[in-house]
């Protein structure tokens, strides 16, 4: 065994909630001590209780606590930690924070500051990843000024295309064009609509992605240029770009497509000099074409579904990579076993999606075969209104998707959270939806689902 100068003895977790607990669990398994930081209202959170050491770093507002870099670095120095795990959200994608950690001789568990910065600028990220070989949604480089220009571009891109307002949003100034004959008229109406709505009539065109799915590829890369992927996650069930439920593997990806997308993501990450865990997000159209959207340079909320089907511990890999260890398996070792589904249990009204803070008066965790719950709350815990509404992630694993759905249903049935409203009833309804059960999902699923079920969608 080679001498390793970066073996961690103690890690500070610059986060809260279920992900802070998740990181603590792996640290315990690795024999690494943990330091929790918390705001004054999070004193009773489980991440504080189960860390070896803890410090209150500020009041409730994130800007003064979980985003307070001087307080976090100061705590890291007082407790003499080797590394900081940023979790997701808060400082996880702050290149500035990663640089400060480095300047203070504390290892930031994640990729280099340069890569974080590059991927943080979404336009630059697409350009860089396109150069690195990933397909992106084709479109006009900027505003389209004449019908001739539009016709030429559309011929190159291929129909259907979508005309969008440069200043746009909310569906206004948008037209889908399926053939050349419709293009002239669509440009005119979109431009007029845009001028009326945004006082700016400029429009651009883009390939229209039909029935897109949100498919993402999990990658792991070490500091020696080795990189592998752990297959995909299907995250199409979203509401306002917030994921509600995720599964692995996707119901539509063939092994060949998985290999094509995975290999493309790995090649791009290698070109980028990526290290640590990361996720490339793609749109997949109904014809099987895929387009790079963005890369998340951190652990993701939905990472457990990948862990369940691949038996990998992604947090452990992040820590080992940050310690300077090489990846200890290669692409051929990837195994995808069975099917996993994750439901995000949010403290929200399942009909209106309004946040529902309050005290949890009763709490029962489901268990039994193939069930995992990642959470930081308990009976008597007070859900505060200061942070995101995710209180638990319920994950199931079974041999097939059908069995996983059955398992999720029975787990949801016995998951009791009283005192606050949660999204449990919503997930129960989705599990019974015929389109969901058939695996016929896309990013438009929730629109369809809420329209179909109306207000009664989730009367528990």
């Amino acid at each position: 065994m080679a001498f390793n100068p970066r073996k961690f003895k103690k890690i500070l977790i610059a986060n809260r909630g279920e992900i802070a607990c998740r990181i603590i669990w792996t640290c315990k398994e690795m024999g690494i001590k943990t330091v929790a930081v918390h705001s004054d209202v999070d004193r009773d959170s489980l991440h504080v209780r189960f860390a070896d050491e803890a410090a209150c770093i500020g009041p409730a507002p994130s800007a003064q606590s979980y985003l307070n870099i001087p307080a976090i670095i100061s705590t890291a120095e007082i407790f003499n930690v080797d590394a900081i795990h940023p979790g997701y959200g808060f400082l996880a994608e702050s290149a500035y924070f990663a640089e400060i950690c480095e300047a203070c001789n504390i290892k930031f568990i994640g990729p280099s500051a340069n890569v974080i910065r590059l991927m943080g600028d979404k336009i630059e990220a697409r350009r860089a990843m396109h150069e690195a070989g990933l397909p992106i949604v084709p479109g006009s480089p900027g505003e389209v000024t004449s019908e001739e220009e539009a016709l030429g571009l559309a011929r190159e891109i291929g129909y259907p295309i979508i005309v969008k307002a440069s200043a746009g949003g909310g569906g206004r100034g948008m037209r889908i064009v399926r053939s050349e004959g419709e293009l002239g008229k669509a440009l005119d109406t979109a431009s007029t609509e845009a001028a009326a709505a945004f006082n700016d009539g400029s429009v651009y065109i883009e390939k229209y992605i039909e029935q897109p799915r949100h498919i993402e590829i999990q990658v792991l890369a070490d500091e020696f240029g080795e990189c592998i992927h752990l297959g995909e996650r299907e995250c199409s069930i979203q509401r306002r770009h917030q994921k509600l439920m995720e599964e692995a593997p996707s119901t539509v990806l063939t092994p060949e497509q998985r290999k094509t997308m995975g290999d493309a993501a790995v090649a791009a990450c290698k070109k980028l000099g990526y290290s640590s865990a990361g996720t490339c997000e793609f749109l997949l159209d109904k014809h099987g074409a895929f387009y790079f959207m963005e890369m998340n340079t951190r652990i993701q909320v939905e990472h457990p579904v990948t862990e369940m089907v691949t038996l990998a511990d992604i947090v452990r890999n992040q820590i080992r990579i940050a310690e300077g260890e090489p990846l200890n398996y290669n692409q051929d070792d990837l195994l995808i076993v069975g099917h996993a589904i994750e439901c995000r249990i949010n403290a929200e009204n399942p009909e209106t999606f309004a946040p529902s803070p309050g005290t949890i008066t009763a709490f029962n965790l489901p268990g039994g075969p193939g069930v995992r719950v990642d959470t930081f709350v308990y009976s008597g815990y007070q859900v505060t209104p200061f942070y995101d509404s995710l209180i638990a992630k319920l994950i199931v694993h079974a041999r097939t998707r059908e069995l996983a759905i059955a398992r999720m249903k029975r787990a949801l049935d016995v998951m009791v959270v009283e005192g606050i409203k949660t999204t449990i009833p919503l997930h129960q309804k989705i599990m019974d939806d015929p389109r969901f059960r058939a695996g016929d999902i896309g990013t438009d699923f929730m629109e369809y689902f809420l329209a179909r079920n109306g207000k009664k969608a989730v009367s528990a």
Partner: protein, 186 residues
């Protein structure tokens, strides 16, 4: 008076069997120790013997502070909070637990709390006098201590007026946000 670091004898670390097996300290020895403390301008002295430990602390003008305790009543060491102490059930090591408990008993006092996490210093430099001591009268803009965070010395003001009657933390001790530092009587 400045407060130097704990004595080299800083008890607790020493293997218990290494000492001669005297079971207690008599009054003469205690007086001798107090003299040692005063004559050498020390602020604190701690000595452990087989099954016995004495800790003396001088708070300048304060008459307080000489308490003997059994070996296992270990006050949290200044630098590294122990990995797993047991303050009520199984919580983690918090820098502020003791001070918070102490301050909770002083409900009639106005408490100056730490506005940031960092290392607490009572004086502007190791050789300088403390900003305030027991009996000092402070105004809202009086600097009462320094809290070092990321190598920056942050001067902390009282933000209220009154007489300092309690000091909850020791020089060089890590403090967290909201931790009680001083108790004032108005």
């Amino acid at each position: 008076m400045s407060t130097p670091k704990e004595q080299p004898e800083a008890a607790g670390k020493r293997p218990r069997a290494a000492q001669k097996p005297a079971a207690s300290v008599n009054m003469d020895e205690l007086r001798e120790l107090i003299g040692l403390l005063r004559d050498n301008g020390l602020a604190e002295l701690e000595l452990e013997n087989e099954g016995f430990r004495v800790r003396l602390r001088r708070e300048s003008d304060r008459a307080e502070s000489s308490h003997a305790s059994a070996p296992h009543h270990d006050p949290a060491p200044a630098q590294t909070p122990a990995p797993a102490p047991a303050p009520a059930a199984s919580g983690p090591a918090h820098p502020g637990t003791q001070a918070s408990t102490a301050a909770a008993q002083d409900q009639d006092l106005h408490i100056i709390q730490s506005p940031i996490v960092g290392t607490f210093y009572r004086s502007p430099s190791p050789t300088a006098d403390a900003f305030v001591k027991i009996g000092s009268n402070v105004e809202p803009d009086t600097v009462v201590c320094i809290i070092e965070a990321m190598k920056l010395m942050n001067e902390i003001q009282a933000e209220m007026s009154g007489e300092v009657v309690k000091i909850y933390v020791e020089n060089g001790q890590p403090v967290e946000y909201g931790q009680p530092l001083f108790g004032l009587q108005s």
